[in-house]
């Protein structure tokens, strides 16, 4: 059975689930790679939803989210 290697990912967290939903909608519209995930336990004990993307998209995502008025809570680079 193949072992799934952990990869470095950018994890963007939001203050509300609605923020994560808006981020997903925007990234789909712009064709930016990524997906919604449950916020990793190592980031917070909250049980929210985060956006996981390749780390090289960090500056693009930060700029796009700011332009769209999507309020982020934090950006983390984690092996997932």
């Amino acid at each position: 059975m193949a072992v799934r290697k952990k990869q470095l990912r950018l994890v963007v967290t939001f203050h509300t689930t609605a923020g994560a939903m808006a981020a997903e909608q925007l990234c789909r519209k712009l064709g930016l790679e990524g997906r919604l995930i449950s916020v990793p336990r190592s980031v917070t004990s909250d049980c929210g939803i985060a956006w996981s993307a390749p780390p090289d998209l960090r500056s693009t995502l930060e700029a796009r989210f700011q332009e769209a008025g999507i309020d982020t809570a934090g950006c983390y680079e984690l092996f997932l």
């Binding site: 059975m1 799934r4 689930t17 609605a18 939903m21 808006a22 995930i37 449950s38 004990s45 939803i49």
Partner: protein, 368 residues
Amino acid sequence: MKQQNWFREHGVILLTGVIVGIAAIVLTACGNPKNMGFCIACFERDIAGALGLHSADKVQYVRPEIIGIVLGALIAAAAAKEFRAKAGSSPACRFVLGLFVMIGALVFLGCPLRMVIRLGGGDLTAVAGLAGFIAGILVGVFFLRRGFSLGRAYPVRQGEGMILPGVMVVLLVLLVAVPGVLRFSEAGPGSMRAFWVISLAAGLVVGVLAQRSRLCMAGGIRDAVMLQDFKLLSGFLAIWITITIGNLIIGNYNLSAVSQPIAHSQHLWSFLGMALAGWGSILLGGCPLRQLILAGEGNGDSAVTVFGMIVGAAVAHNFGLAGAADSVAENGTYVVGGIGKAGMAAVVLGFVVLLVITLTHLPRKEQA
């Protein structure tokens, strides 16, 4: 290897599920009502009764399990430096949502955790509740996808985050030092209780583990549906399996849809009651157990939700909204329990209120 990774990632949540299951079995063996080792809704209802907020004399007792869960979560959060006092996310709406989640749960006769415990005892009447709970969660997820939000919480002073733990400490002091000021049931479910030290210890253990694992009955199904992430759901399943095995070992497993402890056979209203609880839990961001844990971590909005649930329990019993268990009459006839017209009206009103709160917290067109 893949299996090893799976167990590493799911270890804490699986362990939590197993311990919660064992704790529920032990509490029942030590005196709690059958299939009610834990029930957040029922135990908050008992606390409301003990404080005189309702006068249903069979359901009055300050349940140390609730105190233990909140204080356990506080201890775990403080030890991990995760205690964060925050509040301000539509507290009034949360109070009302908590109230109707409680009414829905008491119509069914149990919170989502007790629903799983009932299933683990072989109670087939709980299947309707499970179906309703899933349906309610799907409705909630539908609106989450459309941007539903009660707004963000903001950091507040530490004291705000200590409100519910503080209330729990006061309740514990009253229970142990001045029980005369409280009401205690002499018959019925409220009179069936494990020794308070055992109940408190079980609550503390569950509170610590649930804080570490983020165990949530509603969150498990939400994550599975929205994110195809089955981690939280595995905790839910671990409780079910552990309780099933435990009940089989001690001979308490009774696979049947009749004569189940503190349960009724009005399946439609079990379905609708838990649909109300499931939808409300998704809007609140967690099931009743999760609200206690979040309040223990310093979330003032969850503390308000818990107060809403306690008031909801009082309303449910003062206005005859809660379900009555099936029973056997003196002549041996099986009497189907359930809810009356007032309870049915309350459930319908609950759906209307949830819909209004949902629609008024969707993004406006220019925001969408």
